[in-house]
Amino acid sequence: MLARPNWLGDAWRWLDARLDLSYVQQIAKKKDVPVHRHTIWYYLGGMTLFLFMVQVATGVLLLFYYRPSAEEAYESVQFLMAEVEFGWLIRSMHAWAANLMIFTVFIHLFSVLLLKAYRSPREITWLSGVALLGLSISFGFTGYLLPWNELAYFATRVGTEIVGVVPFVGSFFLSFLRGGTDVSGATLTRFYAIHVALLPAAAAVFLGLHLFLVQKHGMSIPDSAEASEQRGRAMPFLPNFLLRDLIGWLSALAILASLAAFFPAELGVKADPFQPAPIGIKPEWYFMFMFQSLKYLPAHILFIEGEVVGVFAFGLAAVLLLLVPFLDRRSIRGERERLFIWLGIAAIAFIVVLTILGYTANPTQ
């Protein structure tokens, strides 16, 4: 063990007397992580958390210079990129980490789904996790508009338009999101409030719950690992797993820095509501599969508009996703179950194929 300087030991004892740190230390020492061939998937949750922390840090830094009004937003981002020292770095890291985080969120979701880590007693962990997925996507959607550039403006227009398609409540939600009937400065301010205050508060709540439950229940062991000879092997969380976690996080940091340096965030032209939409407006990649599949729906299915059917289908899929722990009856009974795994793989394939189509298919189709 490293020799601790005296003052560090004194500081520890002082804090321990007041905060009961030794209790925490006990729990931390006891915490261990199962070791088997699926252990690698355990790192994804922490990776997502790390990227979220990067987002919070860079996001707070961006707040120092960003101005959330239609007249000033674009200029403030331009100023940030050009005049503020390392402004390009902070902004580019924020943009790239957002994409990486949503990517890891999806991988984390699917690994949990396929390894059935949602089984009892981890149902609430799953529910809070799906909520965090929704929050991450909302973060992405609201944050994308904030530079108030042409691409973001039109992507937001299309995105909020789809919300309005829902019958009865659609137009209310559309005007609630937009702060009016059209995408305007009011939308920008509203999205800003949602992005920097509302969503972080919600994320804090759900993240706290999620992490507490993960801590409480420990890591779930997949069936295949239960059955294998490796059953029972584990490594201590502190320091083994955490050090490995750190390696992953540092690698992610290096990748982020490289992406920021070689592919800095673009700004494009300022949004002009009176200009026609440029050809080939595309949403962010994590929406692409939904966007593209809506394009393939016919104009009418039975007597309902195709778009409405599409929106409902995705809504239904989200609800089903949320209820997976309760729908997977066989797993509840403790039996082996393959259907949900196949459904999960089908979902991954669907998302991947439609995302690829979204980028390769002709924009005017």
């Binding site: 083994n240 750190l246 390696i247 540092l250 690698s251 820095a257 340096a261 070689f262 965030a265």
Partner: protein, 419 residues
């Protein structure tokens, strides 16, 4: 007498006899319009339909103001020569008829004090006027040919036949008609040529009515083709810088001697296209090569002009793309981009200076521009090298991170070895 022509007014007259009220109402109206409106012959009813929109009608003038007669009487009796009725005036009478009012300053100022009152005088000096009044040729334009007869509107009214957007078509009605122009030996391609020009494009698509149309170069009422000697003066109205340079150049003297039409020698007269750098020098699309060859002094100077302008233009473009590359990578180059505007301005000035045909002057302007470009280019390259500096910083950071990762891996190994 064709009784058909008289049937309607008789009908109207009978209405008056039967309906005294109508007679009173009609006498306050324009009795000419009342009858002419219902006549079956288009030639007689059309004026009545068009006139209410005419500027003269708006100002309170009625038919008798030009045609004479008595508008209170209904029927043929209104058209009484004793009451001044002149019928449809002959073509050579028209300028004097219009001039009765339009040349009278005291009269015109009651309606539009800013309107000129010398149109008839100008017309008499024009080719149209000379042919009509001196040579007695009725086939040329008179007032009503361009302004229309009964639907005259101010030139600022977009519906007017003499609005800048409509002037080419109005002139073209005769001047693009081969049969009509055959006896005068005038080409009829001007309208077609003009509609390919940058001036027409500026008016019709750019919406900029300050660009010239037929009357801006040829004159309105005193229309005549510009004399070869003073084509340049016409162009100089707007293109004053080029004209100043040109007038001091040797080309101006030579062109005058040769009887060349000044600016139109190189730029043409009706189908004027935007001047391009290709016009310079001895290559394809150049105008200098029409008179000069590579062997004579002028041809070599032309080549020098082309090289100078080309060098400034291409270096400006290259520098611009360097700056854009730097900007797209997030470097701050707005000051440099602004300074590059100066190079663009120098290019515009250099192109204008070409008209002095003096290589010293052109090189002076180009030199100023090149100075700016060189300075800005170095700033752009500095920005790009700062970009490389970023990559160096990145490399350093990645090395540190990798070192840390290696250290951690070794630490893990050590911990697990001991366990």
């Amino acid at each position: 007498m064709r009784f058909g022509l008289w049937a309607a007014p008789l009908l109207g007259l009978s209405l008056v006899v039967v309906w005294p009220q109508a007679a009173v109402a009609q006498s306050e109206q324009n009795s000419c319009i009342t009858c002419h409106q219902v006549l079956p012959d288009e030639r007689l009813s059309a004026p009545a339909e068009q006139f209410p929109d005419d500027i003269h009608a708006t100002k309170g003038f009625i038919c008798i103001a030009c045609h004479g007669g008595d508008a209170t009487i209904v029927g043929p009796a209104a058209m009484d020569p004793a009451k001044g009725y002149i019928g449809s005036p002959q073509r050579e009478q028209v300028p004097a008829l219009c001039g009765r009012c339009h040349s009278n300053a005291q009269f015109m100022r009651r309606f539009n004090p800013a309107l000129r009152v010398d149109q008839v005088t100008e017309f008499e000096a024009s080719v149209h006027g000379q042919k009509l009044l001196s040579d007695g040729d009725p086939n040329v334009a008179t007032c009503t040919s361009c302004h229309t007869v009964h639907s005259i509107k101010p030139a600022s009214d977009p519906r007017s036949s003499v609005h800048p957007l409509r002037v080419p078509a109005t002139c073209g009605r005769c001047h693009a008609d081969e049969q009509r122009m055959a006896r005068y030996n005038i080409p009829t391609d001007q309208l077609d040529l003009y509609q390919t020009s940058i001036h027409w494009e500026t008016i019709s698509e750019g919406g900029d009515l300050s660009a010239p149309t037929c009357n801006d170069c040829h004159g309105n009422h005193g229309a005549a083709p510009p004399g070869l000697a003073w084509v340049g003066n016409v162009c100089a109205q707007c293109h004053s810088m080029m004209a100043e340079f040109f007038n001091e150049s040797r080309h101006s003297r030579v062109f005058a001697l040769l009887g060349n039409p000044g600016c139109a020698t190189c730029h043409r007269n009706h189908d004027i296209h935007p001047a391009s750098d290709e016009m310079l020098g001895l290559g394809e699309g150049a105008v200098c090569v029409r008179c000069h060859t590579a062997d004579d002094q002028g041809g070599q100077t032309a080549g020098a002009f082309r090289m100078a302008i080309d060098s400034l233009r291409t270096t400006t473009e290259e520098t611009h793309s360097i700056l854009l590359r730097a900007e797209n990578s997030g470097m701050e180059v707005s000051q440099a981009l602004f300074a590059l505007n100066g190079a663009q301005d120098a290019l515009v000035k250099a192109r204008a200076t070409i008209h002095s045909f003096d290589i010293e002057q052109v090189n002076a302007e180009v030199g100023l521009g090149l100075e700016i470009v060189t300075d800005v280019r170095s700033r752009g390259e500095q920005a790009l090298s700062d970009l490389r500096l970023r990559r160096v910083w990145l490399a350093v950071s990645v090395v540190i991170i990798v070192a840390l990762i290696v250290g951690l891996a070794m630490k893990i190994q050590e911990i697990e070895r001991r366990a």
